[in-house]
Symmetry: C2
Subunit: 381 residues, 2 copies
């Protein structure tokens, strides 16, 4: 190995793990990956794949104890396992203490508030019952947004609550209530930081959501926002990573409200869907950037070389089974269009099966290309 | 598999095979690779690696007979094996007949002449003895360039002959004599063509050679030549691939003489050192472009997104053994600098161990960065 003699492992072998492996390939970096099955996306592209359950404390420890550095491509791993590896002297990226904050939406929001970072007004509850009591005494204003404190993502664990009855059927567990804000744009920014405090800040992207699946519909890079907002986002990102001495890669999602306020929504300390475009559009990809912080190298150049639109290839409704992509001929005939097919064996409705990146210099042209492509391109069985 | 259900194999698992595998990864294309050892660069990045000798007719057939399409990353494979696979109905890219022309420098030059493509004046001989006879009767003008007809590359198999005595010690085998031309620039261009005749033409690059090692010193993209010359190169490339109905990827090297003549020097029907920059600098890389012709897809967009300088990381003189790269800290601190480390276990003097790609918008700045980097970056043991 040439860049490092350290052994680096990744918990999670999904598409993000796969793209980390592809980013590591030009350096011939010998990566170790653990996930449930060698059928998973990253397996063919890492040097060593271990079949195992990253939710199991024992299996995380067994995987990590032979390595020097352990990082993640998914938050839902055994934090106990990570703490144990840290106590054994392993470098764990992100730090498990930070990961605990991120995984609890209540603690995460309190973290923003304590740092003085603008976020959505919220209250945190240990159970749904507790929230219901507050409603009974009239200490909350409708409508508000209910969010599960744990394991909510891609729209799961979120509900708009217009009246008390809307709480019926929600999980009993810890939750938060968030003020309903009027969103003009959803934005994201990715920042990296190494142990020396050297940071790499990518330009912000803009996300457009599909209300039906409540999943990212497409991503536009760079975001269509004034420079002032972009600067504010970068300052917030720097504040967050510097205050906690963060090491790793952090994706931060923001709301820009209709009255011009910039609020942090949530964050993920790993490669993120909102950074896929960096592969084609930036001098350094988010994946290489994470590898750089893992090896404690200086951040790579984040300069944009061109504009981009990214959209996910989701499993079409009504199809479950071995995946097939319909309409590739048109895709391959489209200028500067890039297929990322994750290699998941089975498709199911709205499952993320891949993404398309359209690169170029004119956002209007890219948008037209996306619309044309979408008519024909379908994940079916 | 999503892009194709065909099984694709590559003969050769060196750096070019590795970069083909990396290019195939976003499509999750299941590639089969054969080369001598699973220690070779491509092994960790292909889906199936077979240890075998691509010079052996039997082993090439055994490898290819379970596949649908076979391509190469190196010319020196068993052509008999390829002919046999073709006769079995396999798609072989490039066509073995074309590969035979390319591998014989005498036939290759005759091929250019017969097509009306400008090339260096030459005579072809079946042995050194035959050439010596022609000299004896005074039918050749000194100085000329002696070239071995077979297996000459990277400066091996080439000698400047100023007088008859200079032939002493040269191999007895088939050779050619070429007129000595006064070279202003060495240029290269990569063209792809599928079975429908759809072509992808990259912009020309300019190569600067290191006279000591007689290896590429660095490559500049785009070449510093008038548009008129670039157009002429593209026309020649189109002529060559169209006239023979070529399918695959073809790198063509040219001389631009001091009196302004453009002459074809040689060609290689596979990914080429002179196309490494396409990974970072073009919408589609030469590697993806070959995969597209292999799958008979339309060519990818060849537009340049930025300028680039590529230079090879060669084994330093005096060092043989397990490779180490000295000076990586400076490399990782350099803007838009990309390390490609091939992962060969052993270094030896002038062995190609990797390459550096510097991307940006100002060629002068890129050249300065290269000079600074080179002072510190060394392949040692």
């Amino acid at each position: 190995m040439i860049v490092t003699d350290l052994k680096v492992g990744i918990l999670g072998g999904g598409q993000l793990g796969k793209m980390l492996c592809i980013a590591a390939a030009p350096w011939h970096l010998e990566l170790f990956v653990m996930d449930k099955s060698a059928d998973f996306p990253a397996a063919p592209y890492c040097h060593h794949f271990t079949e195992g359950d990253f939710n199991s404390e024992e299996e995380v420890i067994a995987f990590g104890e032979t390595l020097d550095i352990i990082t993640i491509e998914i938050e839902g791993v055994s934090i106990k396992g990570l703490h144990k590896l840290k106590s054994m002297g392993k470098t764990v990226i992100p730090d498990p203490d930070f990961l605990e904050i991120v995984r609890d939406k209540g603690r995460q929001n309190a973290f923003y508030r304590d740092l003085g970072v603008p976020t959505v007004g919220f209250s945190s509850f240990d159970s749904l019952k507790e929230l219901e009591k507050v409603i009974e005494v009239g200490n909350i204003r409708f409508p508000f947004v209910w969010k599960s404190r744990f394991e909510g993502y891609d729209g799961r664990g979120v509900k708009l609550v217009k009246r008390a009855e809307d709480l019926k059927g929600l999980p009993e567990g810890p939750c938060i209530s968030e003020d309903l804000v009027s969103i003009e744009k959803e934005l994201a920014l990715i920042v990296s930081r190494n142990s020396k405090g050297e940071k790499g800040l990518f330009d912000p992207v803009e996300m457009v959501f599909d209300s039906r699946a409540n999943l990212l519909d497409h991503l536009q890079f760079p975001a269509g926002i004034p420079e002032r907002i972009a600067e504010q986002m970068k300052q917030i990102a720097e504040t967050i990573v510097d205050k906690v001495g963060f090491r790793g890669l952090l994706a931060i999602e923001f709301f820009l409200t209709t009255d011009g306020q910039l609020l942090v929504n949530e964050m993920a300390p790993r490669p993120h869907n909102s950074g896929h475009h960096t592969i084609e559009c930036c001098a350094t990809s988010q994946y290489e950037q994470l590898l750089r912080t893992v090896l404690d190298l200086p951040p790579g150049d984040t300069a944009a070389s061109r504009k981009g639109i990214m959209y996910n290839l989701l499993g079409s409704p009504g199809y479950t089974g071995p995946a097939r992509l319909k309409g590739v001929e048109q895709l391959f005939a489209t200028e500067d269009a890039h297929l990322h097919w994750y290699g998941k064996k089975q498709t199911r409705p709205f499952r993320k099966m891949g993404h398309i990146l359209l690169a170029g210099s004119d956002m209007g042209v890219l948008r037209e290309r996306m619309e044309r492509l979408r008519e024909g391109l379908r994940v079916v069985v």
